[in-house]
């Protein structure tokens, strides 16, 4: 049974990845599961300088989902490379460094610095966080700007460059094309969907940032549709994510067009979710006599 996949040059032993921001810097989970079994770990979004993020009132549970407005709090690229990466190098898995900048230049610099660090195997460029200001959000919603910022990072990056798309757009296909035109080797689809919740007793928003990003099973049908549209629009491999809780869900994403899947919110519900999902994928392949997971990608019969 072949489970290995190639995500735009990033070779994984299996298609299960942990999603950025839901698995810390990876090492936090070593006592919950065997990290060597995971296809890849995507670390929390990194920026040039450490970022404090938003004030408290950062998460809220919603029907079959949750809102977050962490605000991209992170220890910064330097501290990550110095403190976390050496720990991660001990594991036989691949490390994807998720990163963002506030300007095109910052994106390009971050891509360069992370490419130079030993033990990082691919870069995931976050242009799609719903908790940032309007100006920033244009990176992920205006195709022309998307192409420009991706091209800038592409120039400095020496590792496979994955671009993470925002679902908060009229046409995910247009955004996917823009990212690929800019030089993306692969796409991550989707980031969280903008949402909010209000405490009716106080009339205040549940999140200090007012709006936040919706994740979890609630968004799965939306994510699946976007992966399907992206698969039709571009040729690069897709990492599918958004509400995957079980091996069956992962298979659904693969059939819609994903070459690999990322597990996000499910890690909070069950710290060992990624390994159970991998097991579910294998069970399905055995039951359906599928020898190579790659043959299932985009295998939807319409």
């Amino acid at each position: 049974m072949n489970l290995s996949v190639n995500i735009g040059g990033l070779k994984l032993k299996n298609p299960v990845i942990t999603a950025s921001g839901t698995f810390g810097y990876g090492v936090e989970y070593e006592e919950f599961l065997d990290l060597n079994q995971i296809g890849a770990i995507t670390v929390k979004g990194l920026s040039q300088h450490p970022a404090k993020g938003n004030p408290p009132g950062r998460i809220w549970e919603t029907p079959c989902g949750m809102l977050n407005a962490i605000g991209l709090q992170n220890i910064g690229i330097a501290a990550f490379i110095k403190e976390k990466l050496p720990e991660l190098r001990k594991y036989d898995t691949k490390i994807i460094a998720n990163f963002f900048g506030d300007t095109i230049e910052e994106y390009a610099e971050a891509a360069a610095r992370l490419s130079a660090a030993e033990g990082i195997h691919a870069l995931e460029m976050n242009i799609s966080c719903p908790n940032k200001q309007a100006g920033w959000i244009a990176f992920g919603t205006d195709p022309a700007l998307t192409e420009k910022v991706v091209a800038a990072a592409r120039k400095t990056a020496t590792l496979p460059l994955i671009v993470k798309l925002s679902p908060n757009v009229t046409s995910i296909a247009d955004m996917a094309k823009a990212a690929v035109n800019g030089g993306a080797d692969a796409l991550s689809v989707i980031n969280t969907i903008t949402g909010m919740a209000i405490d009716i007793e106080t009339r205040r928003p549940r999140l200090s940032n007012i709006v936040g990003g919706l994740s979890g099973p609630a968004i799965r049908p939306i994510a699946l549709q976007m992966i399907f549209q992206t698969f039709k629009a571009v040729k690069v491999p897709i990492i599918g994510m958004g509400g995957i809780m079980t091996g069956g869900d992962a298979i659904e994403f693969i059939i819609a067009g994903a070459s690999a899947v990322a597990v996000g919110t499910a890690n909070f519900v069950n710290p060992a979710a990624s390994i159970e999902i991998l097991k579910g994928i294998k069970d399905y392949m055995a039951r359906h006599q599928i020898d190579d997971i790659n043959t299932l990608t985009g295998g939807i019969i319409c």
Binding site: G21, C64, M66, N68, Q73, N270
Partner: protein, 272 residues
């Protein structure tokens, strides 16, 4: 019921052996883990999955009320939680049948620090906050215990099920005066602390768990003591990765699940 099969340290399945409904919303949930679990400090917590549905989705944090040591019947001991059924998840837990197997993550976070020999400890519990500090009464025997409740019910409930820390060192107050003195338990605390200071002059530590409003009132009281409190915020991961449970402190944002839930009261910056 589906449950997790990984037993690396702090992720385990457990079977419910008691689900006893007290008067009002409180209930006692006693479970026995299917593996030997890590030792727990008083003030640490566990994340419990409220049923097997994906709504509600997230695990819920609960302090350990007490741990019963391994016995022939329960080779991994039992964990006892005291829970107030305030919302969706807690009400689901309240309805789980004895025998139900479900998933738990923990122990998590940092509990109350040790008390030095030259210090005296005053323990303060506001309502359900007793769940988090009750364990202190078996570590620091006969330590003064201040318990504030809305009404007498809960006290008698706890006594009825065998918690007998209501000796002469226990000071109680209730909102309606139905047990102990009427009003805030903090008034009793303030009086005892200043009497102790006056009579003995030693260092005082106060470990408290209750509503955040109680902590804010304690800040205002300016007690001559080193105060540690257990904070509550919504949590997703419980293990420090989602960065969702942040609280403002004098040394920047800290995570309640990992840096806490027990904090030094003077380090907390209270918002709105």
């Amino acid at each position: 019921m589906k449950y997790w099969k990984y037993y690396l340290n702090r992720l385990f399945s457990a079977d419910i052996i008691r689900n006893e409904h007290l008067v009002g919303r409180y209930f006692i949930l006693e479970v026995t883990p299917n593996v030997a679990i890590c030792e727990t400090q008083v003030g640490q917590f566990f994340m419990l999955r409220p049923g097997e549905s994906i709504d509600p989705l997230l695990l819920r944090p609960f302090s350990l009320l007490t741990f019963k040591s391994p016995s022939g019947q329960y080779p991994n001991g039992t964990l006892i939680f005291l829970i107030d059924a305030v919302g969706k998840g807690t009400n689901i837990l309240k309805r789980l049948a004895v025998g139900t197997r479900f998933s738990i993550v923990g122990p998590l976070g940092r509990g109350f620090p040790p008390v030095a020999d030259d210090e005296i400890l005053f323990v303060v519990a506001g309502g359900i906050g007793i769940a988090s500090v009750f364990g202190l009464t078996s570590v620091y025997l006969n330590t003064p215990f201040f318990f504030g409740v809305r009404t007498a019910n809960m006290m008698s409930d706890l006594q009825a099920i065998g918690f007998n820390y209501w000796g002469e060192n226990t000071f109680t107050a209730s909102d309606d005066g139905s047990i102990g003195s009427k009003g805030s338990v903090l008034e009793l605390l303030e009086k005892q602390v200043s009497e102790y200071k006056r009579d003995c002059g030693g260092k005082v530590k106060i470990y408290a768990c209750g509503p955040h409003a109680m902590y804010k009132a304690m800040v205002k009281m300016n007690l001559d003591a080193d105060i540690y409190v257990s904070l509550e915020t919504p949590m997703a991961c419980g293990v420090g990765t989602c960065l969702g449970c942040a609280v403002e402190t004098t040394s920047g944002l800290q995570m309640v699940c990992k840096d806490g839930p027990v904090f030094n009261l003077k380090d907390i910056i209270w918002g709105g």
